[in-house]
Amino acid sequence: MQRTVYLDHAATTPVHPKALEAMLPYFSEVYGNPSSIYSVARESRKALDSAREKVADILGCKPNEVIFTSGGSESDNLAIKGAAFAAKSGGNHIITSSVEHHAVLHTCQFLEKFGFEVTYLPVDKYGMVDPADVEKAITDKTILVTIMTANNEIGTINPIADISKVIKKKNKNIVLHTDAVQAAGSLDIQANHLGVDMLSLSAHKFYGPKGVGVLYVRRATPFLPQQQGGGQERNRRAGTENVAGIVGMATALEVAAASIEEYNRHCQSMRDRLTQGLFSKIDHVYLNGHPTQRLPNNANFSFEYVEGESILLNLDMMGVAASSGSACTSASLEPSHVLMAMGVPVELAHGSVRFTIGSKNSAEDIDHVLSVLPDIVQKLRAMSPLAEVR
């Protein structure tokens, strides 16, 4: 039987057994609506409160600063729209970066239709935001800055604490939000260490269930709720709480936080094995993103002269799952906006493949990739009108 090797953990992760076990009672046994008055509902409410405390503990914040959402996209939308609309009397300028996840970028573009002006900061060749560029972009109309903690495609880590210092020095009232969706489980995401007013998390990126996330909102941050209804989450986000999902998320976050060092060590070791192996077996291959300031589990390569989707299809036939920044693999038929913003030539963007390692990947998994990928690249290069090397 063929080995299956899943190397797309930035896209999603399997639910950790501890998280799954923690969730199970809340489907058919403790199924009460936390807002109801009777005892089975009070059990749900207790579980919700306990989950909130766990998350607050890890973020280094107060429980009432934690809002549960349906995931990273909602958290990003809620943060940006919530802060922008609330602070509108003080200005209409938002600053973000050109390599943000589309949940941030498209939300900013959406707000441009409502009288907001947005600056999309450039990044360096590693995809990193320069705090000096943030500083230069701030005007007396700036109300919100949103910059991601770590990039989902290339893993580059932004200097959020430095960006925070630069912003707060110029104007303490500017709200700083960070999309930390890819950072949880690997980096320090304590709100006060990062110096942020808002922070987004998504459970299914750290071995929790899909469909649930967190938005941290620092006390006193201007915030206009976006989902009206029954007053849940202290009137900040209506909707009956996804207790099972929230319990699963809190457990997964707790497990992840307790094993950050070991997880990073393991992922980096596997990632470096993959990178070194590929460079020794294949030529005309380049690493995208920062060489050191990057998530330990992320390896994004461009294979010259060949296209990403055809690499992925071949990898899939050999049991390997990965993703690509090529236009052919995107719904919009555009190459990765992240790679383009970094100045990667468009053909190399089309030839990019992202491998993101997880806690269960072994050296055998990596070696399997190393045993099949060189032949795949060679076969595709032999077919390519661009390759002088055959």
């Binding site: 002269y305 990403g308 036939m317 555009e334 390519s384």
Partner: protein
């Protein structure tokens, strides 16, 4: 996403390669999604005696290139000019919607190769 027939042509593409002394060469590309196709033909008695392709592109790009070479090998140039991108997609059992527009340029590359041959031939005759 892709039919079995597409995957077959993708995994076992027919007629890959180049013809150094080709009678006609056609290059077609889509700058948006980055697919690039090059078709080489050898013409004998107004028929496609041999045909080879090189492609930089996704599964659909490679499969359509392979399929078009299979369809037109041995056909007359006029018959080959009548083969459309739609014919190629149908022969493959269909392609996903977004792939029809973007990757299905193989027939265009073939037509360019035939036009290249014909214009070279006309130029040769003109010098006699």
């Amino acid at each position: 996403m892709y039919s079995d027939l597409v995957m077959d042509h993708f995994s076992n593409p027919r007629n890959v390669g180049s013809i150094p002394d080709a009678d006609g060469v056609g290059l077609e590309g889509n700058p948006v999604c980055g697919d690039l196709m090059k078709i080489f033909i050898k013409v004998d008695d107004d028929r496609i005696a041999d045909i080879k392709f090189q492609t930089f592109g996704c599964g659909a790009a490679i499969a359509t290139s392979s399929m078009v070479t299979e369809i037109v090998k041995g056909k007359t140039l006029d018959e080959a000019m009548k083969v459309t991108n739609r014919n190629v997609a149908e022969a493959l059992g269909g392609l996903p919607g977004p792939k029809m527009h973007c990757s299905n340029l193989a027939a265009d590359a073939l037509h360019k190769a035939i036009e290249d041959y014909r214009s070279k031939k006309a130029a040769k005759l003109a010098t006699i």
